[in-house]
């Protein structure tokens, strides 16, 4: 199938496209592989219903990260304004919230809705679909040496289901009674009964439909990633020669397949309770002067089902970010990643443990206290592989020759917030200590640092690092530096003080603290937090500008700008369907031969055969 290099591919393509135009649609303009299959791509097949993994990666990046991310962050800024200056009138509320902010003062119901949709969008749409969708799609075929995903069609369907679910989620912002407002965890009965909350009507219905479609999209994507990694590795790419990015994406996809269906079942049962009168999660309810017919269900069951997904979800968000970081830290330190096998083992250990710790969200839910002990045990176990990862990152930096490109800054930033946020997990994971800080701002501070900020840093690191691969151009480094430093300072500025508010006893999801004079002295801290949040928001505009400007006007990238070992940098700068113009390269070594003694350069691509007197790197 793979032909010789053609001197003038354009003519060849033109000829092919006239001959085979309508037969198949995986053609391209500048490659000569599959030359009998070429046809002219239309705008629709190239940019909209594309089956090319690189285009789908870009689609995820733009819809999931840039668009949904922008909305998710903007929503958080709105409620941060309310928290710092409670019940004050803001013109921006008047503009964006309309009837939900009479005379510019935010309504308590829309506050809860903003919190809910912010959480939903950031966790699912930005950090799950946006992060995995972009980088698994881009990197899995490129780094394992495959022409494309195992099924380009399913991949396309996965993206469009994601798009549909995003559209439905956003449309819920515009329904009469408001969007879902029961928190992103949508615990029934609050989420099940429209009488309990206006957002639990149409808004919640749309939320559930959107998430059901989202799960379908996520499953199609994950199955595709798993099959591709297992089956389509190029010759020589044994499992233990795979870059850590691929390990992370692979394992992430597996836990996604294990846990997402459980969310779907929880959502379906909730739909049944809401619309068809079943009592899976409801029992003995009296609301608005009326006893409801529900009998025998339990909200605790929903909590179990939700967190069976919800906790692995944290690692679905985090592992790809850690994979990206591993790759970037090794490349930019010009050193092999320290303890490659330990890193793989800890990814697998974290993934396994992540499915048996969900109960730590439920220590005081009313479940048997004995279960609390069990989940404390498993939860603190997960700290061990996490600690191993952190130490291995630090050791990778040691005696390196660090190249501080923006991607590297964000990777180091990730390690920093992963440690800071992870350590407070030791407190929350302990059932005893959880009693008094459960559902306070301490939790909010903890999970924002360890999964929110860390995963976002991983995402940014990935965007800066693989922008040349995505768009063939470089992002501006100085804007990248500005973006990183403002973000890093404001992230700690926001979340460090927030721990103290939580330890002062302030529960989360309070529209205002003014109802309790006891919390009056927290007002100043809330103002500080909001100022840092606004600063962080402003910094993201720098990124947005840099991204869009560089996409069109950035410096044209070299083929291997970071002097990296992995296979994606052996493909031409200009994208072509099938990735490599000639044969798929074979792999002869692991991905981390950086600064290997006896080599001329400080990197050796995976496609370079082992030299005659060269020692194979033991890893």
């Amino acid at each position: 199938m793979e032909g010789k290099k053609d001197k003038n591919p354009r003519i060849r393509v033109k000829m092919d496209s006239t001959e085979f135009g309508d037969l198949l649609n995986d053609g391209n303009k500048s490659s000569d592989f599959h030359q009998e299959h070429h046809h002219k791509e239309t705008f629709i097949t190239k940019y909209i219903f594309s089956q090319d993994h690189k285009m789908i990666a870009k689609q995820y990046l733009i819809t999931g990260v840039l668009f949904m991310g922008f909305i998710g962050i903007a929503l958080s800024l709105l409620f941060r304004l309310q928290l710092a200056w409670p019940e004050e009138s803001f013109a921006v509320f008047d503009i964006f919230l309309g009837k939900w902010a009479p005379e510019g003062v935010m309504d308590p119901n829309i506050y809860l809705a903003l919190v809910t949709i912010h959480g939903t969008i950031m966790v699912f749409f930005v950090l799950t679909a946006g992060l995995s969708g972009t980088f698994s799609n881009l990197l899995i075929p490129l780094q394992i040496g495959a022409r494309d995903m195992a099924s380009g069609f399913l991949n396309m369907v996965s993206f469009w289901l994601f798009f549909l679910s995003s559209a439905i989620m956003l449309s819920s912002l515009f329904v009469e009674a408001g969007p879902a407002a029961a928190g992103w965890t949508i615990y029934p009965p609050l989420s099940a009964l429209p009488q309990a909350q206006s957002g639990s009507g149409m808004g919640m219905t749309l939320w559930l439909i959107s998430m059901a479609i989202f799960v379908a999209s996520s499953l199609l994507g994950s199955l595709n990633y798993i099959v591709t990694v297992i089956n389509l590795r190029t010759k020589g790419m044994s499992l233990f020669r795979m870059p850590l990015t691929i390990w992370a994406f692979f394992v992430t996809a597996i836990i996604g397949v294990i846990s997402f269906p459980v969310l779907l079942s929880a959502a379906l049962l909730l739909i049944m309770d809401r619309s068809f009168g079943t009592s899976f999660f409801l029992s003995d309810i009296f609301i608005q002067g009326e006893v409801l017919h529900y009998q025998g269900g339990s909200p605790v069951l929903f909590e179990h089902l939700f967190w069976f997904l919800g906790h692995p979800e944290v690692y679905i968000v985090l592992l790809p970010a850690l994979g990206i970081t591993s790759e970037i830290i090794a490349t930019s330190s010009r050193k092999p990643i320290f303890g490659y096998r330990a890193m793989v083992a800890s990814i697998i250990a974290i993934a396994f443990l992540s499915t048996v710790v969900w109960g730590h969200h439920m220590f005081i839910s009313g479940m048997n206290p004995f279960l609390g002990s069990v989940f404390t045990f498993t939860t603190l176990l997960i700290a061990i592989p996490s600690a191993v990862k952190a130490f291995n990152y630090i050791t990778t930096l040691w005696k390196g020759n660090l190249q501080f490109n923006p991607g590297m800054l964000f990777s180091i930033g990730l390690v920093s917030t992963f440690i800071t946020g992870g350590l407070t997990g030791i407190i929350l994971g302990d059932s005893t200590l959880d009693i008094n800080i459960h559902d306070t701002y301490f939790v909010v501070a903890h999970f924002h640092l360890v999964m929110g900020i860390s995963a976002l840093y991983g995402l940014f690191a990935g965007v800066y690092h693989w922008f040349p691969k995505l768009f063939g151009r470089m992002m501006n480094k100085n804007l990248g530096y500005i973006h990183f430093w403002i973000t890093a300072i404001s992230a700690y500025g926001v979340f460090f003080p927030m721990h103290f508010i939580g330890m002062a006893g302030l529960p989360r999801r309070y529209y205002t603290n003014t109802a309790f004079p006891y919390f009056d002295d927290l007002a100043d801290i809330n103002v500080v937090i909001t100022l840092f949040a606004l600063l962080a928001g402003a910094a993201q505009l720098v990124f947005l500008y840099n991204f869009i400007a560089s996409m069109f006007f950035g410096k044209v990238a070299e083929q291997n700008p970071w002097r990296s070992n992995t296979l994606e940098w052996t493909t031409p700068v200009k994208h072509l369907h099938g990735n490599w113009p000639g044969k798929i390269p074979h792999v002869h070594r692991w991905a981390y031969d950086y600064s290997k003694p006896g080599q001329k350069e400080d990197f050796v691509s995976q496609i370079v055969p082992i030299g005659e007197n060269e020692e194979i790197s033991e890893h």
Partner: protein, 360 residues
């Protein structure tokens, strides 16, 4: 502080805009399609960014120290319950461990970033793995976590596995609904009568927690709103119920929290060790109250200047709050808890009417 931050924000925004302008100029100058490596970090960039990494370490330390220095005073005062003492001890031991780990690891991370910032023509040290090192940092955290797990589990089972048959304990039901709390006492027999939401509409809706009037245990039950009293140094067993959605009974000063779940009865128990009056004398609490009243006084002045009513002055009381999102007024679902001496408690409870008075 805020003024300083505002200046910092404006300054950084200014820098951002200036840089954006710069890059725009650059873009205008070179939109040619020549490959170039000007956007890859140079030795000079490595130098600057490496030094900034070190500065960032200093920043993290300063933020940590500042937060502990400036915000420690807002933290909860010493525990007012028996189990709160071991709770606080475990909390601060855990904090000591994580602060130690945080200080060391952040230092190593950022110092290495600074120390090994890239220099042209230097080759990094080829170091793929070291089993001994990895063993050390697997085993040490494992030992530390193991100790913490054991300590935590013992404390947890002491708190959660209380003796329900304790004759001396007072049984109180905390009853949650959108958006208020009620408390029910067992009355003379200290036994709560059966209850269900299906009885809520009995007696023209005056059966406010749905007591089953066919159960004699419930006839002497006492239901109170707004505030409930408990005697100091007596074990209290709380039984939690909710009539509509999930709530969470959160009593931070007693280090106590338990969700209220419709359709089931959840439990928590603690022994209060300090009366409200004693707690008001506590130095931390007194200082906090004084601070809060200063804030409220200043706010009142503003409000009165605007022709609105001023704020009441504040005095400390124990609180029962809702910590689980429960709808519109989740933020204002509160009940006052008063810890009395045994004598005052008896006086207070004997002035309350039993359920039987509603039944007649």
């Amino acid at each position: 502080m805020i003024g300083l931050l505002t200046v910092a924000v404006l300054l950084l925004m200014g820098i951002a805009i200036w840089q954006i302008n710069n890059i725009y100029q650059l873009i205008q100058n070179s939109t040619s399609n020549k490959r170039d490596n000007s956007q890859i970090a140079t030795e000079k960039d490595n130098d600057t960014q490496g030094k900034l990494m070190f500065a960032f370490l200093v920043f993290i330390y300063i933020v940590t120290i500042y937060c502990f220095w400036a915000y420690s005073k807002v933290l909860l005062p010493e525990a007012a319950s028996e189990h709160g003492v071991p709770y606080d001890r475990l909390l601060w031991i855990s904090f000591a461990i994580i602060l130690f780990a945080q200080t060391i690891t952040q230092a190593l991370l950022h110092y290495f970033a600074y120390k090994y910032r890239g220099i042209n023509n230097r080759k990094a040290f080829f170091f793929t793995h070291d089993n001994n090192l990895e063993l050390i940092w697997t085993v040490i955290p494992a030992i530390v976590f193991f100790c913490l797990i054991i300590y935590g589990m013992l404390t947890w089972s002491n708190i959660m596995n209380f003796n329900e048959q304790d004759e001396d304990a007072i049984v109180i039901e905390l009853y949650a609904q959108q958006w208020n709390w009620k408390a029910r006492y067992g009355g003379q027999d200290n036994v709560l009568g059966d209850a269900n939401v299906r009885f809520l509409n009995d007696y023209d809706g005056r059966n406010s927690v749905g007591i089953d009037s066919s159960d004699p245990n419930g006839w002497d039950d006492i239901v109170v709103t707004q505030e409930f009293h408990i005697p100091v140094n007596r074990k209290i067993i709380f039984k939690m119920r909710s009539q509509d959605v999930l709530h969470s009974a959160y009593m931070p000063h007693f280090r106590a929290q338990m969700n209220c779940v419709p359709g089931m009865i959840t439990e928590f128990s603690f022994t209060p060790t300090k009366t409200t009056a004693e707690m008001r004398m506590n130095a931390d609490v007194a200082a906090k109250v004084e601070r809060i009243n200063k804030i409220r006084y200043n706010k009142s002045k503003e409000l009165i200047a605007k022709g609105e009513e001023g704020l009441d002055s504040y005095q400390f009381d124990y609180l029962l709050l809702c910590a689980k999102i429960c709808g519109t007024s989740h933020y204002n679902m509160q009940m006052k808890i008063v810890v009395d001496s045994e004598k005052d408690y008896n006086k207070w409870i004997s002035s309350k009417e039993a359920f039987s008075s509603i039944m007649q």
